[in-house]
Amino acid sequence: MSDLTYASLTILIIWAGIFFYVFTLDRRLRRLEEHGARGWDVSAPEEE
């Protein structure tokens, strides 16, 4: 693997990590807005 490809792969891993984290946050927020506490913890009892 060339040095440039290796550097690109490393940088891709950094951005993939950031995007995955932001995606996870966005999904958690959407679930919370749609389902309340159950969005945070799906094992929690359903709200009345």
Binding site: L4, L32, W40
Partner: protein, 216 residues
């Protein structure tokens, strides 16, 4: 606020383009030096996030308003994620530059200690059910934890022998970087800082909404 997100995306896209096309590889480090324009800002956000966690923890202790605790925990969470990314990217760079993934260099050891300190912060939060008690104890912990950050990040790597490139940004001429490299690095740091500000609002909203849904 969509324009703000678009602006951050555009800024970062320009930084990525410039890091690969506008500046040459650094002398002696070759093409792998391009990792630095992303690894350093990630490490910077790690320190910034832990700093924000401490300042907002002080905010909680002064006001006893749980919204400050939400901000503090959100910042610590982002700091932990960025610390993992800095560790992974640093290790990958070390593999190419030093021929070894990990050699317990002072900077590598420091970030592992930081990871453990802030992992313990979340273990503490998870162990406490009562929200006021949790906010109180974790705020105190966050303040004490941050005292170690300047020591581990700025002091230890400078007083101990290290293979890590010595202060990449220093006061004596930018550590051998030319003007273009400094510009890209500063732009990358600004881009990551703006991204942090946005992620922090997102993570804070999640913590506030989940707290309100569970306790109100």
């Amino acid at each position: 606020m969509r324009w703000w997100k678009a602006f951050i995306g555009l800024w970062i896209a320009v930084v990525i383009w410039a890091a690969f096309n506008w500046i040459p590889p650094a002398m002696g480090l070759g093409e792998t030096s391009r990792i630095a324009w992303f690894h350093i800002p990630v490490a910077w956000i790690c320190v910034l996030a832990f700093g924000v966690a401490m300042v907002t923890a002080i905010g909680y202790l002064r006001t006893r308003d749980l919204r400050w605790d939400d901000r503090s925990a959100a910042a610590a969470e982002i700091g932990l994620v960025y610390a993992v990314l800095a560790t992974v990217s640093g290790s990958m760079w070390a593999h190419k530059a030093w021929g070894i993934w990990w050699n317990w260099d002072p900077r590598e050891s420091s970030i592992i200690i930081l990871l453990l300190i802030y992992a313990a912060y979340f273990a503490l939060r998870a162990a406490l059910d009562e929200e006021v008690r949790r906010a109180m104890l974790s705020s105190v912990y966050s303040i004490v934890a941050f005292i170690t950050v300047p020591y581990l990040v700025f002091v230890v790597p400078r007083v101990m022998r290290s293979l890590h490139p010595d202060p990449v940004i220093n006061t004596a001429g930018g550590g051998g970087m030319d003007g273009g490299m400094v510009m890209v690095l500063v732009a990358a740091v600004i881009g990551q800082t703006m991204l942090f500000a946005w992620i922090h609002t997102l993570a804070t909203r999640i913590r506030r909404r989940s707290r309100e849904a569970l306790y109100v």
